[in-house]
């Protein structure tokens, strides 16, 4: 969670929640390289995007290893311990500079402006435990220091158990089918996913956390609505013949910090069990891979934030489709990622408490991105994003910078970036985001005279993993 500047008034909470939209958490970890003895390029085109082998490694439970293990067996010769002799630890550091089209208002002095051109050292610093825990059991666990929020927090975590089976007879040319069956325990819907189309690992892989970002996002989208790191989920998945993936996970509220047991002081508290599904088909040929899939979640939530966690709830039903194409050549690498998320909102609780104007709303997000790299060293990406949805003057109310004058969440634009990787584990990035529309329109979108293009963001990043 990243709160960048304070806004007063009744809109503070929704606006601040929405500012978290840009908090992109995407990682690649050298401890996996230490564990497997393979260079980053085996699992990543350019981090954090996964190659087909990277997907296999993840779905196999992060357990492939080649370093000395501390082992134990019982009387029946069953493995009771298989522990990496070197702990699979990694460090990630991001240092960034953000500049917006027009300076943002001062957080305290009325009419004054904040400094334009913000350096964060660090934007984020993370420590990971990422690797094997035991036979068939592995973890990806992240602790993050957030430079703007000035605290350490529990970040993305995925602990998984996986078994690999060969089906069918060996030899005689008979087709052998492979099946991986696994269980994942994680705290962010889509963190467990193996493609870069779904939100947790989607484009942009890093972005400014101090520039304004659109007023809302769908529940399943990165951190939107407080799902990421605010839920605990247990899921089962199957990966058949490296082509068909199916998963069903069930999430429940698990908010870090604040009042416990959870009570009315918490906001956007998941109610009951939230089912998440994922189906994907991947076809690989020559140096290409193509994935098409669907995913989604049904999220019931109490608005909280002063309202008791009882009675009627808001229900968000997110259904999404996605597709990914990768070409991994010796010199040239191409990727295309796209997803479309359709969210139906049934806002019984928010409507009854005058937090929403409509009882039913829709919210839609479309993202499309193309990327090219030369020899995994220099490359760039161009992404288009478009958020549209029902107009709701209470959900999307006017407020300086973060609000909407016309009650529409419509935001669209492009993100372009150029990346240089002098080493496989170091990315230097120049990113530019341009908004055609921001929170409803182009000109004076917030009712305080700010234009969408005033939020255009230049972002310079040094991203190092070791």
């Amino acid at each position: 969670m990243r709160y960048t500047y304070s806004l007063g008034g009744p809109w503070a909470l929704p606006v601040l929640t929405i500012l978290c939209f840009a908090a992109v958490d995407a990682r690649a970890v050298p401890s996996f390289a230490r564990q497997t003895g393979m260079a980053c390029a085996a699992c990543h085109t350019v981090f954090p995007e996964l190659t087909p082998f990277g997907r296999e490694f993840k779905l196999n439970g992060y357990v492939m290893d080649n370093i000395k293990q501390i082992t134990g067996i019982d009387a029946a010769n069953r493995s009771t311990l298989s522990l990496n002799s070197i702990p699979p630890l990694s460090v990630m550091l991001q240092v960034s500079y953000t500049h917006t089209g027009a300076a943002l208002p001062d957080s305290a002095a009325t009419g004054a402006l904040a400094k334009d051109g913000d350096v964060l050292f660090p934007q984020q610093a993370s420590i990971f435990y990422a690797g094997k825990i035991a036979d068939n059991l592995g973890a990806f666990m992240q602790l993050t220091y957030d430079g703007a929020a000035d605290h350490f927090g529990f970040d993305n975590t995925d602990i998984r158990y996986a078994r690999h089976f060969n089906l069918g007879a060996e030899g005689d040319g008979a087709k052998v089918h492979t099946l991986i069956v696994g269980v994942t325990l994680n705290n962010n819907p889509t963190i467990q996913d193996a493609w870069n189309t779904t939100p947790a690992w989607g484009f942009p892989y890093s972005g400014s956390n101090t520039a304004p970002s659109p007023i809302t996002s769908t529940r399943i989208d990165s951190g939107g609505g407080g799902l990421g790191q605010n839920v605990a989920g247990l899921g089962v998945y199957a990966w058949y013949d490296s082509s068909v993936y199916a998963e069903l996970s069930l999430y429940t509220a698990a908010i870090v910090g604040g009042a416990h047991p959870l009570d009315s002081t918490q906001a956007q508290v998941a109610h009951g069990v939230l089912p998440y599904w994922r189906l994907a088909y991947e076809h690989r040929w020559d140096r290409n891979s193509l994935e098409v899939g669907t995913y989604g979640i049904v999220a019931k939530q109490h608005p909280g934030n002063g309202l008791p966690l009882t009675g009627i709830v808001d229900q968000y039903t997110d259904a999404a489709v996605d597709a990914q194409y990768q070409f991994i050549g010796e010199d040239h690498l191409f990727t295309v990622l796209t997803t479309y998320i359709n969210e139906k909102q049934k806002l019984d609780a928010s409507f009854a408490n005058a937090l929403a104007q409509n009882q039913s709303n829709t919210l839609k997000t479309f993202k499309l991105m193309g990327e090219y790299y030369y020899q995994r060293t220099i490359g760039g990406a161009l992404g288009y994003f478009d958020i549209t949805g029902s107009t709701d003057a209470l959900l999307y109310a006017p407020a300086p910078v973060g609000g909407s004058a016309n009650g529409s969440p419509a935001s669209s634009g492009i993100t372009a970036e150029v990346n240089y990787l002098p080493w496989l584990n170091t990315k230097l990035q120049l990113q530019y985001t341009h908004y055609d529309k921001f929170n409803g329109t182009s000109n004076n979108y917030d009712g305080s005279g700010r234009n969408a293009s005033n939020n255009d963001t230049t972002y310079v990043l040094a991203w190092i993993n070791f």
Binding site: M64, A169, H177
Partner: protein, 207 residues
């Protein structure tokens, strides 16, 4: 669908998954479990039964056992130094025991080879000429002399038939530039031109 029904459905599928797992276990029990585990790791890149999809990763099916054994040892002791060997195979081969290397080599040697795939017929014809007759003017001997008339390999000389052309091309280049240590082949291919390489690898991929 009500949530209770959804949960019931998810539990209902568990026996199915369990049944598949049981069947798979039964099949795996027939073979050496340690070998099976290792082969599963190899399969992530080299494909089930050693027939790979991406041309970065060579087909291993029906490769000669002595060649496979020599390469795995060269990865393990880091004497095969071409870039992909370092990036992928040094790590993967490091924990393999001598006995496992022998077992793996024997396992892949007996798998059904990948089928050849067609391509530019004129190029393939030129490649066939190089493979069968060499290039006398450049004192390049026929490949078939060591690799077999059908490129099926002979002992420590590897099988080339049905191998991915981009993989073969890359090997010719790294052997020519001595990034990959292969004294005999280095001498043979040092005068081979890129066009000749493209032709002969296209031919080998096609058979």
């Amino acid at each position: 669908m009500k949530l209770s029904q959804l949960i019931a459905l998810s539990f209902a599928t568990l026996p199915f998954i369990g049944g598949l797992a049981h069947a798979a276990d039964a099949a795996a029990e027939k073979a050496d479990p340690a070998l099976q585990n290792t082969v599963q790791t190899c399969a992530a890149c080299h494909g089930a039964s050693g027939r790979s999809v991406a041309p970065t990763f060579p087909n291993l099916a029906a490769q000669t056992a002595p060649y496979l054994e020599a390469q795995l040892k060269a990865f393990k002791d880091q004497t095969r130094g071409d870039p992909d060997a370092q990036a992928y195979m040094w790590g993967m081969a490091a924990p393999l025991s001598e006995a496992m290397i022998t077992e793996l080599a024997a396992y892949y040697a007996k798998q059904t080879p990948a089928k050849g795939t067609g391509g530019d017929t004129a190029l393939i014809a030129r490649g066939k000429e190089v493979f069968e007759k060499g290039i006398p003017a450049a004192q390049i001997p026929a490949c078939a002399t060591c690799h077999g008339a059908h490129a099926q390999g002979m002992a420590s000389f590897p099988r080339l038939a049905g191998q991915h052309a981009p993989y073969l091309l890359k090997q010719l280049l790294v052997i020519q530039s001595a990034l990959r240590n292969a004294p005999v082949m280095h001498g043979v291919v040092k005068e081979l031109t890129r066009d000749q390489m493209l032709a002969v690898t296209a031919y080998l991929e096609s058979i």
